[in-house]
């Protein structure tokens, strides 16, 4: 995918500025409808989810006290994984978005909530709510696109180091909570700019380290020690590591599905100068993808399976997205836009496909088949080991081949 402004046929070419503003007005009306509707049943919903999550966590932790017995280990680990996923997705993510601030309950409020995750809530709110949700899918502004470590767009020049990006992406998925913490700190860029001695950065970093220390002490010291009397120290430790990894893999997958599948649009930095509310809405509509599935999937994904609705109305309560979706879908149809939705396996595959495709030079995957594979691999080897000149020449050849292939098709 290339930024929407450079595409041969823009998916929004058929919309006049008036259309886009009218679309904004209609979306505002949907927002208002649900603002007016939200009430006691919504409040009861989030309290119920929090109550269930806490009971699952208490139960799982209790079962894991005897985790040396395999059935206890399995039940406890599954329970703890579910509890951590609920805490991060349907509860933490959405409370920190301010979706429940309207209840005026100081215990369920974006300004007071803290979650079971390496990154402190305050820092995540800045990088996620403020940067990602405002600059969604704008190359160079929205670091959620590839987290600054991946090639996410054809326009980014290919470099041999990108060959390893599927591996990085997998490692990042396993340790996702730490990846997010580093990313919220803007660690990579700070190191690159040699600003790690900056006092403000230091202060932030020490907050992250304190949070990580607390989380690790709980999962890897205190609970294993509490299990010691049954001889379950190591099995509880293993259970907690497993639950954290499961949570990391799950949340990474869900989040990849939100903006990464093939067909989701990206935008140029220039394009958001003086952006109107209608244009902002359109960018959210085209820059997000949904996951279709059961109610359980929606809850476990924190309703990020309704990523499009979430990006349009990030502060409406998550339990309402399922009701908002048909109305939003109607608007997509009315304005001739592509409502991007597919089941989880399909979206995960699509997102990973993009990671692989962009780890290779533009056009390489498309022009390679079983017959020319040896030749193509040789070319890739040359591109990976040669200098910029070799790369440019080979890329030109690839572009030509790809164009020819398209013309035939």
């Amino acid at each position: 995918m290339t930024v929407i402004q450079k595409q041969a046929v823009s998916p929004i070419a058929h919309l006049t500025p008036e259309d886009i503003e009218q679309l904004g007005v209609e979306l505002d009306a949907i927002r208002q409808e649900f603002l007016d509707a939200r009430g006691a049943s919504d409040a009861a919903y989030i309290r119920k989810v929090i109550d269930v999550q806490r009971k699952i966590e208490l139960g799982s932790r209790a079962v894991l006290l005897a985790s040396v017995f395999p059935p206890a280990w399995i039940v406890g680990t599954i329970g703890l994984s579910i509890s951590k996923i609920l805490d991060n997705m349907e509860i933490g993510h959405n409370i920190l978005h301010g979706q429940w601030d309207w209840m005026r309950d100081p215990k369920i409020h974006s300004t007071t909530w803290e979650w079971d995750n390496a990154t402190p809530a305050a820092q995540w709110k800045h990088s996620h709510n403020e940067l990602h949700h405002t600059y969604t899918n704008v190359i160079g502004k929205d670091n959620d696109l590839g987290y600054g470590i991946m090639r996410v767009d054809e326009d980014q020049p290919w470099h041999p180091m990108y060959l390893a990006q599927p591996l990085w992406n997998f490692i990042n998925a396993c340790i996702f909570e730490y990846g997010i913490a580093a990313y919220d700190l803007d660690l990579g860029a700070t190191i690159k700019r040699k600003k790690t001695k900056d006092p403000e950065f230091r202060a932030q970093a020490s907050k992250v380290l304190a949070k990580i220390r607390k989380q690790a002490t709980k999962d890897y010291v205190v609970h294993p020690l509490l299990s010691l009397p049954t001889g379950s120290f190591f099995s509880t430790l293993a259970a907690n590591v497993t639950a954290n990894v499961v949570r990391n893999l799950w949340s990474h997958s869900i989040i990849m599905c939100g903006h990464f599948p093939e067909g989701v649009e990206t935008f140029e930095k220039r394009s958001i100068d003086g952006e109107t509310r209608g244009e902002w809405y359109v960018r959210q509509m085209l820059g997000s993808a949904n996951i279709s599935g059961s109610k359980a999937l929606h809850i476990m994904s924190g309703n990020l399976s309704h990523q499009i609705e979430h990006h349009l109305f990030p502060d409406l309560p998550s339990n309402r997205y399922a009701q908002i979706a048909p109305k939003v879908k109607d608007l997509f149809e009315k304005y001739g836009l592509n409502y991007h939705t597919a089941p989880l396996p399909q979206q995960v595959y699509s997102a990973w496909h993009k990671v692989f495709r962009l780890s290779l030079p533009n056009g390489w995957l498309a022009t390679t088949n079983a017959k020319n594979a040896p030749e193509k691999l040789k070319m890739l080897y040359k591109m990976a080991t040669g200098g910029p000149k070799v790369r440019r020449a080979a890329q030109a050849r690839l572009n030509q081949e790809a164009r020819r292939l398209k013309a035939v098709a």
Binding site: W115, K125, H126, T134, R277
Partner: protein, 380 residues
């Protein structure tokens, strides 16, 4: 030489070990439940326990008139008690939104430790209507400790109570304490023997009178001298002719609770004659939202005050006046600019929605999309 002081708890080395053990367990529990706190889990099972945020459970809702009800509440273990005449601030979720209001305590202190408030549903009153008509026993409410100076002195002597409408509630709290009612009727306590109490009770009509039966019972047993005044029978009460109803008015200390108009008139009347008056008023008179083209004062608790017009976000107005404000996306999405509104009224510039805050509410509002619709005070 040093002297070890034990502040509370068992003394001696044994006590110290115990304390250390307790602190150790507490610390371990905190480490085990982070990022939550142990209280988050304890609240799930016992929200009224000692050490919890102060809450109460509604035990009974008893209708008093067609639009008033008494709510009997079991307060949390940390309830510190009250003096009759005091009020309590109570927080209840109405349509999912936590709302705080103050109500006089109309009963107790009681032996079972319960407290009660009596609420009159006022027209368009979101909270009062909810409490009177839609609250069920078992509901959890949030409380603050009882407070208020509208209480009787140690040696009361000759008193006059002037009550209007639901202003009768703190007075009933006092009277019930002075003259408990048993199955056999009003109990005359020794401590209440020397009292000489007149109650002028004003109400729109007789059926609208909360607690009129209780007042009549006290009157019948000669505990008080009740002078009921119904607007539909007697016409509106003229404060300047109060001495016609109460000839020994000048000898009495007056305790009044009711709407602002009545209290203002009483205050003028009593000040002029140099008589003693104690008043209590609850109904918060909210400023109605003003228009967008007006200028309002917005102040912060460090003393800075800025002028903001009703069409400019508070964030922008404060920043252009040099106030360092938390901010984020500036479009109402990220909640990075949220500040507690201590008192005042704001308007959401996107859809015109009005948010009001009374003292003590501390409603958190997004400053980037809200403009002042009246004078505002922020905690910042």
């Amino acid at each position: 030489m040093s002297i070890a002081l034990n502040a509370g708890g068992p003394a001696g080395p044994q006590g110290q070990t115990l304390r250390q053990l307790r602190d150790g367990v507490r610390r371990l529990t905190e480490l085990a439940v982070t990022p939550l706190v142990p209280a988050d889990y304890l609240d799930m099972f016992n929200p009224l326990r000692a050490g919890a945020d102060l809450r109460g459970r509604i035990v009974d809702v008893h209708p008093e008139t067609r639009d008033a009800a008494t709510l009997l509440i079991k307060p949390g273990a940390d309830w510190a008690g009250h003096v009759p005449g005091q009020y309590v601030r109570i927080g209840i979720d109405v349509d999912g939104v936590r709302q705080w209001r103050a109500y006089s305590l109309t009963h107790g202190p009681r032996r079972d430790g319960y407290i009660s408030i009596t609420v009159k549903a006022v027209p368009d009153g979101k909270v009062s209507n909810h409490l009177v008509h839609h609250t069920r026993p078992g509901t959890l409410v949030h409380l603050e400790q009882a407070t208020g100076d509208f209480v009787l002195p140690e040696m009361p002597g000759k008193l006059l109570f002037v009550t209007a409408g639901s202003g009768v509630t703190p007075v009933v709290g006092m009277l019930r304490n002075l003259f408990p009612v048993a199955d056999s009727g009003v109990v005359h306590l020794r401590r209440s023997e020397d009292l000489d109490i007149t109650v002028v009770h004003v109400a729109p009509s007789e059926p609208d009178s909360i607690f009129i039966d209780n007042l009549r019972e006290l009157h019948a047993s000669r505990a008080i001298n009740l002078i009921p005044r119904y607007d539909d029978v007697h016409g509106l009460l003229d404060v300047n002719r109060l001495d016609e109803l109460v000839p020994d008015l000048a000898e009495r200390a007056t305790y009044a609770c009711g709407p602002a108009g009545l209290l203002d008139a009483l205050e003028a009347h009593h000040t002029e004659r140099g008589m003693e008056l104690f008043v209590e008023q609850f109904r918060t008179t909210f400023v109605e939202p003003g228009e967008g083209d007006q200028i309002y004062g917005v102040s912060f608790n460090d003393g800075t005050a800025v002028e903001a017009d009703g069409a400019t976000p508070i964030l922008d107005a404060a920043e252009s006046a040099g106030v360092l404000m938390p901010s984020g996306c500036r479009m109402g999405v990220c909640y990075g600019c949220v500040l507690p509104l201590r008192e005042g009224i704001v308007r959401d510039l996107r859809n015109g929605e009005i948010t009001k805050a009374a003292p003590g509410d501390g409603v958190k509002v997004q400053t980037c999309i809200n403009a002042a619709a009246g004078p505002c005070e922020f905690d910042h």
